[in-house]
């Protein structure tokens, strides 16, 4: 039997292009090691033409952020009838929009920090700035301000006082038209990876990230620079707490209708409540990313992880 031909879609135009290139290169090497015939495609306006010419048996989407993780490339692959890795169009749209995600979680009774959200039209056309004091009072300080649709902690700001809010809003709105204002929850940062094995989503060992001093939180530099963050795998949690974290992560995955794999970011507060911040449908697969760590802790090498994700799509 000849090797199966797959395309790895990576790069693209999102702010996470660098991460995507890094994820993509590793995925390409892994798939080749597993015997696939791989055509890498750095995604630009020639994508559709290339896919039509190549007619691959499947596509591995190694893109993060806008275009790759928000349902856009998924829609194109649906139209071209090319099977692809990970979540479908609707789940991608839901997960990419942190606000939409949080509404869905709330409706399903899954704990997520209290929040408000605006698009910039509310400020430009409806005078929303006059609500900022009310928001600060309702949510309590500090408030975390983030763009609704960016990954890798781009544009995330903390407002320690109500008067810091407009500044934080400008920063977040520079990264996207919609902004989430969220109550800051202090606690342990857990990355809970989910991978479908034997036909059902299964939770991989929980990873706890503890950024080194000098980083305000698990920010861009601490995510992608080796040695800037310590990880504990599996996270040291009581059995009951661990079960609850896993239950909440799975519930999130199901509520958004995800497929294949994903990573749920959770803050575990002092009362041991796991607050869900977001779900990434295409978590990073770089050398410092948490999904590969979790997989390895479960006995799955990087190459096996990538092949598993690919096979689920074919």
């Amino acid at each position: 039997m000849s090797a199966r031909h797959v395309c790895v879609l990576y790069g693209g135009r999102s702010l996470e292009r660098d991460i995507s290139l890094s994820t993509g290169h590793r995925v390409i090497r892994a798939l080749e090691a597993k015997g696939y015939r791989v055509t890498p495609i750095d995604v630009d306006e020639s994508l559709v033409r290339k896919l039509v010419e190549l007619r691959p048996e499947g596509a591995f989407i190694a893109m993060h952020g806008k275009g790759g993780e928000d349902g856009t490339v998924q829609e194109l692959l649906e139209i071209l009838r090319i099977p692809y890795t990970g979540s479908g169009v609707l789940s991608s749209i839901r997960a990419m929009d942190k606000v939409l995600t949080k509404h869905i979680l709330e409706a399903d009774g899954i704990p997520t920090p209290p929040f408000y959200a605006f698009n910039d039209a509310a400020f430009r056309e409806m005078g929303a700035k006059d609500t900022l004091d009310i928001i600060a009072e309702d949510l309590g300080l500090p408030v975390v301000v983030k763009p609704a649709a960016q990954g890798s902690a781009f544009g995330i700001n903390f407002a320690g006082e109500a008067r810091d809010l407009p500044r934080a809003m400008v920063s977040a709105l520079s990264f996207g038209r919609k902004v989430l204002l969220e109550k800051f929850v202090a606690g342990r940062e857990l990355a809970v990876s989910i991978l479908e094995l034997d036909g059902a989503p299964s939770v991989l060992p929980i990873v706890e990230a503890t950024p080194r001093s000098g980083h305000a939180f698990y920010d861009f530099d601490s995510r992608y620079t080796a040695g800037e963050t310590d990880f504990v795998v599996p996270a040291e949690l009581d059995d009951a707490v661990s079960d609850e974290v896993r239950r909440v992560a799975l519930a999130t995955y199901r509520a958004l209708g995800c497929r294949g794999f994903g990573r749920v970011d959770i803050i575990l507060d002092e009362q041991q409540t796991p607050w869900v911040l977001e779900l990434n449908t295409i978590p990073g697969l770089t050398e410092t990313s948490t999904l590969p760590m979790a997989a390895e802790a479960a006995g799955l090498s990087f190459d096996d992880l990538v092949a598993t994700i690919m096979e689920l799509a074919l």
Binding site: F123, V170, D221, V232, M293, A297
Partner: protein
């Protein structure tokens, strides 16, 4: 893989690695390199204008007559014939030197590295212009330097502020190891230190026993006004100036050839430093530079570059006056590659994501400070972008700024 996952080399690293950080978030390099993005970010020389026949002739000559020499180790301080060439080049700017005091380096960046390596222990104070060349700040930071910025205005470094800074340091019981300055068409400021201030600066250096590191990579690329004497010339042999030069902007950055002119005692230390770093700079590259300079071809080429850059500067400055808001300000350089633009109150780091979304890129102002200043400024480079693209880039940037101003207003800022 179970348990605590740390960097397994953690216990072995030198303390200086702690301050070495990725700047991926800062400059979004891979995006600014995309063809559809008009990049006003990189300070790239227009190497596409290097004449092919000259390139071929020099390479042929090396291949025919100097092949063994080109492929062999060379002297650490560089070939004597290239030192003579450098004396010729510097004389074109009115600076007379003794070629024996020239140390050839692997690019101007190595010259900065060697000076820092020679003078700085961890925690030592180095003074730098504010804003300062980001590549120098990276070097200072890798030697764990305590960088203090001295403010610049449209006439370059403000000497009163330098004196005030020296006074403050004296009160702290500290001394600056040196002052790093780019007097001609500074990167990123685009400003030129006036003659009066140059004179005052060398006086202050003499009075206060301050070593000045004069970095002059752009000096020959003056396309307007008369050349000003270098600090090295004005110092009149008192030994308070270490001069750094580079062929990157007048021939090619790919050729990685720069130089240092230093007083003898410093020169000796730097030769040892260079020996430890790379034994010698590439003989092949030195021969290429020599072939270019000795033939005299550089004079026409530099004149041609000046024409190219003048025209591009004019296009950018004209576009700025049409597209940028009224309260914005920018420098108009008499040479070099850069315009430094300031839009009061607008955070250029935040705005970069939006600008890249509109296919235009620049370098955010705070990249040129070690201490968080410069947030409402940006460096715009016109050197490698043809006129029509420059105009279009500035137009896009202008509309991003307008949108941002409206957003600030909507938020009551």
């Amino acid at each position: 893989m179970n348990g605590r996952i740390t960097d397994r080399y953690e216990g072995k690293y030198a303390s200086r690695t702690r301050v070495m950080r990725s700047s991926a978030m800062r400059d979004l390099m891979s995006l600014t390199a995309l063809p559809e993005v008009i990049s006003l970010a990189g300070g790239l020389p227009a190497t596409d204008s290097f004449p092919q026949d000259v390139f071929d002739r020099i390479n042929r000559q090396i291949s025919d007559t100097q092949r063994a020499l080109a492929l062999q180790y060379g002297p650490t301080e560089g070939f004597d014939f290239l030192k003579d060439d450098i004396a010729t080049i510097m004389a074109a700017e009115g600076t007379q030197i003794d070629p024996a005091h020239v140390l050839i380096t692997t690019g101007g960046q190595q010259a900065i590295d060697l000076v820092t390596k020679t003078f700085v222990d961890p925690g030592d104070v180095v003074l730098a212009e504010g804003p300062a060349y980001a590549g120098a700040l990276t070097t200072f930071s890798s030697y764990e330097t305590d960088v203090r910025h001295v403010h610049m205005d449209s006439d370059g470094l403000v000497i009163e502020e330098l004196e005030a800074m020296l006074d403050r340091l004296a009160v702290e019981g500290r001394r600056a190891k040196f002052l790093y300055a780019v007097p001609n068409f500074s990167n990123p400021g685009g400003t030129t230190l006036t003659l009066e201030r140059r004179r005052r600066l060398v006086e202050v250096a003499a009075e206060r026993d301050l070593l000045v590191v004069e970095d002059n990579p752009y000096g020959l690329l003056r396309y307007e006004g008369d050349p000003l004497p270098t600090l090295l010339t004005l110092d009149e042999g008192r030994g308070n100036v270490v001069y750094l030069g580079s062929f990157s902007k007048i021939i090619s950055p790919g050729i990685r050839t720069g130089w240092v002119v230093a007083p003898n005692a410093i020169y000796q230390k730097m030769v040892f430093g260079k020996q430890a770093t790379d034994l010698c700079s590439s003989p092949l590259n030195q021969l290429f530079v020599h072939g270019f300079v000795a033939s005299g071809a550089w004079r026409d080429y530099v004149a041609r570059l000046c024409d190219i850059y003048r025209s591009r500067r004019d296009a950018m400055v004209q576009a700025l006056s049409e597209e940028f808001p009224d309260d914005a300000s920018w420098t108009v350089p008499e040479g070099g590659f850069f315009v430094w633009a300031t839009v009061p109150g607008i955070h250029t780091g935040d705005m970069l994501a939006k600008a890249i979304g509109e296919n235009v890129a620049y370098v955010r102002g705070d990249a040129f400070y070690q201490d968080g200043q410069g947030v409402d400024s940006m460096r715009l480079s016109f050197s490698a972008v043809p006129e029509e693209r420059l105009v279009e880039g500035v137009r896009r940037l202008g509309s991003v700024i307008s949108d941002q101003i409206e957003l600030y207003r909507a938020l009551g800022l």
